[in-house]
Symmetry: C2
Subunit: 138 residues, 2 copies
């Protein structure tokens, strides 16, 4: 068609579709955008407590998530150095950085394909749609 | 290398990595594996209540999720016919079937790429890893 079809209540079709990808390795071993963002933030800040603050989570919560990741694989994603309570530094390992990079590359692959696969949905998106946020997308 | 490296506690590297993809159109408009599975089950059963039962959710929950999807786009994903309380039939529209197909195709794209991107992670997965299930992957 020569003219794009528009309707008064169509959403902004130029808005970016965002994807999130969750990877399930079986059992309880999963990675997804939350833990990846946490790892990235630790890599930037060099500190679990600073990363937790930046992401609005408690030190304990951040520590538990990173410890869980460390137990998921045969090698750690993060190493900590001593320094008193919450005071030690934290360093993401080369393996941890590879994990982050692989996840982000996979996500970028999927976002590239989404533009092609889901474009027709975006064009039919209702402006101000609020109902679909019902959280049943686990 | 000519021999695969194995370790006593390595997880089964042939286990399938499963991905789930959540699509965020902005605002509250999101689709993910839960709503897609529900739509597929309605398509198979022709009934919201039967689909809800099959997925272990209440009729009300299933109805709310489908109604939310119907409000997300400019055209409905599902049509219902009268038939008394919970007794009417439900039919997924051609648009709804297109939505399901596009989502599943996108997911398959991502799973194909995951084998390539994430193979090195699967090889380093610890057998019986249970800690990483901590649910911070929204």
């Amino acid at each position: 068609m020569t003219q794009p079809q528009t309707t008064p209540d169509a959403a902004d079709a130029t808005a970016r579709v965002r994807l999130s990808v969750r990877v399930d390795f079986g059992g309880e071993a999963r990675i997804g955008p939350g833990k990846i963002k946490l790892l990235e933030t630790v890599a930037l800040t060099g500190s679990i407590s600073a990363a937790g603050r930046a992401l609005g989570m408690s030190y304990r919560r951040a520590w538990l998530l990173l410890d869980a990741l460390n137990r998921t694989f045969l090698e750690p994603v993060i190493l900590t150095s001593a320094g008193g309570a919450h005071g030690g530094g934290a360093q993401v390992t080369p393996f941890g950085l590879d994990l982050v990079a692989a996840y982000r590359a996979l996500e970028a692959d999927a976002e590239d394909r989404a533009a092609e696969r889901l474009g027709f949905l975006r064009e039919r998106l209702r402006a101000g749609a609020t109902g679909a946020g019902l959280d049943y997308d686990e």
